[in-house]
Amino acid sequence: MNVEPLVVRSELAKAIVGQDEMVDGLLLALIAGGHALLEGTPGLAKTLACTSLACLIGGAFRRVQFTPDLLPSDVVGTRIYDQRAGEFRVELGPAFANLLLADEINRAPAKVQSALLEAMQERQVTIAGETHALPAPFVVLATQNPLDGEGTYPLPVAQLDRFLVKIRVAPPTREQELEIVARYGDHPPTLSAAAALDDVRAWQERARAVHVEPPLRAYAVDLVRATRSHPLIEAGASPRASLALVALARARSVLQGRSFATPDDVRAVAPAALRHRVAWSYRVAAEERDPERELRELVAAVSPP
C-alpha cells in the first residue's frame, strides 16, 4: 500500500509544533532526493525534526556531532586491522545511512566537510581505493548555528551549493511555545513508522515524472538569472540552482498530490533553493538590510508565466 507524503507530514506535525517551513523543507528535500541545511539557534527542534522524520520513514538513521577534532574517516569509514583474522577490513562510517544528521556541520574543519560533501554529491565513498555506494535514499540533514562564530568553519558558497535547500528555522510564536511546553511537559508524543523506504523511493520516482511546462522552466531560469544581476548580490546562483528549483517544484507537486508543477511551486521553493547560493555584497550588512527580505523581493519581482 502506497503512503502519501502528506501522511508523513501530518505525523511529523505531532512531534513538531509549528515550523511549517522546516517540515515542508525536509520533506521536499527527501522527495527530491537532495540534502538539506538547517540553520537556527539551538533548541528550535532541528534535531528532533530530523530524528522524527527518520523514525516516520523507517530508514537507517545516523547522527554525527561535528567537532573540530573530527576526521574524514569518522564520517565515511576507514580500514582497520583485524588482529584475529590477521587482515585489514573496511569499517563503514555513519555516512552509510538513509538519513544522516550532520549536527553543527560548521564546527568541523574543511577536510571533514569536503569528505561529507563529496559523499553527498557522488553518493558513494572511496575507502582505501575501494568504492562503496551509499544506500538509497541517502539524505544529509545538516544543521548549523548562525550565532557562534568562534571555533567554526563556515561552509563556502561553492560547498553550500551542494545542499538542495537551506531552511531557516525561526523561533516559535508565543502560542506555539505554550503548545510545546504543554505537549512535551506531560506526555511527549511517540512516533512510529508511517511509511517505508519503498514509499520514499516511489515519491522520488513520481517527482521525477512530474510534468514541467517549458514556460515554467524559463521562470526558474529567470529567477536564478535575476540573482546574477542584482545590485546587492556579489555572486549569483549557479545553473545548479535552476536544476534545484525545478527539482523542488516537482517535489512540491508530489507533496500536494499533483502530477504537474505550477508557478506557485517554483515561487514557493525559490527562497529555500536560492538563499544559500548567493553571496551578498558588503552593502547589505553596511546598510543593515535583511538578506531574506531582499531575496523575497527579488523573487517577487520576476514575472511568473
Binding site: 510534468h211 511546462e213 517549458p214 514556460p215 515554467l216 524559463a218 521562470y219 502530477s259 504537474f260 508543477a261 505550477t262 508557478p263 506557485d264 515561487r267 517577487a300 519581482a301 520576476v302 514575472s303 511568473p304 508565466p305
Partner: protein, 275 residues
Amino acid sequence: MLALVLAACLGARGDAYRVLHVRALTISVDRTHVPLGQALHLTVRAVVGERVQALPELILPDLTAFQVLADSERLDRQADATTYVAVLTITPNLPGPAVIGPAYIDAIDPRSRQPLRYRSNTVTVVALAAAPGEAGGILTRLKALALGGLALVGLATAALALGALALARRRRPAAAADHALEPFAPALPPGEALAAWVARLRHAPSRANAVGARAALWERLGAGERETAEDVAARTSDARWRRAVAAAERAAFVEPGGEAASALHLADALEVVCR
C-alpha cells in the same frame, strides 16, 4: 489584381516579431446603432510595456462592411510604455448588424518567448435604415438612387482604401506563422472575454486556449503580471471563482494527454462564474 498587389506586398515583408508586453488591445465605437449613411467613430487602442517609435505589429480590424471616411492616429510614449490610439471615421455599407474586429498584434510573448497573436475584442454595430427625409450619407443616397451596381463599386473602393491604409501603416508578419499563434494575454473587456473563452475552449479544448482563458481570468480578477494562482485566488472569497482559478492553473500546466479534459473542465468552471 488587388489580391496580387496585396500578396506581393505581404510576401516582401518577412519582418521578425518583436518582444512586446501587450498590456491592452481594445476596440470601441462611440455608437452601436447608427442610421445608414451616418458616420461613427471606431477607436483602436493598444498599450505595450515598451517605449517604441511605432507599432507596425498592429493589424487593424477588417472593415469591409464599412467605408472609411477619415482616420487619425496618435502615439504617446511614456518612460516604460507606449499607447497607440487610432480613430477611424466609418460608415456602414448596408443595413443590419455588422461585427467589427478583432484587431491583432503579432509579437513574441515575453514570458514564453513564443510568437503569439494578441486579439482585441469585437464590437457589433447595427446600421438602421434611414428615416424618410433624413439627411443621408453616401450609401443612403446611393440606395435612394437604387444603384446597386454603384454600391458594389463603393464596396470595392472601401476594400481598396482599407488595403491601402493597412499597407501604408502596418506590416503584417509572415502569414505562415499565423496558425501557430494563439492569444496569450488578450485584452478583451472582462465579461465578454470570459464568455468568449468558454466558447473557444468548448470548440478547441487545447492548452493554448486554456492559457489564453487563464490570462483573461487573471485580468478579470484584477491580477498583476507578477501574481501567481495563489495570489489571484486570494483576491476573491467566492468559491466559484477560486475553483475557476484552480481549473485554469491545471489546464495551463497539466501534463500532455490531460489538456483536453482540463480545458473542458476550465470551460465548465468559467461558465459557472459567467452566469
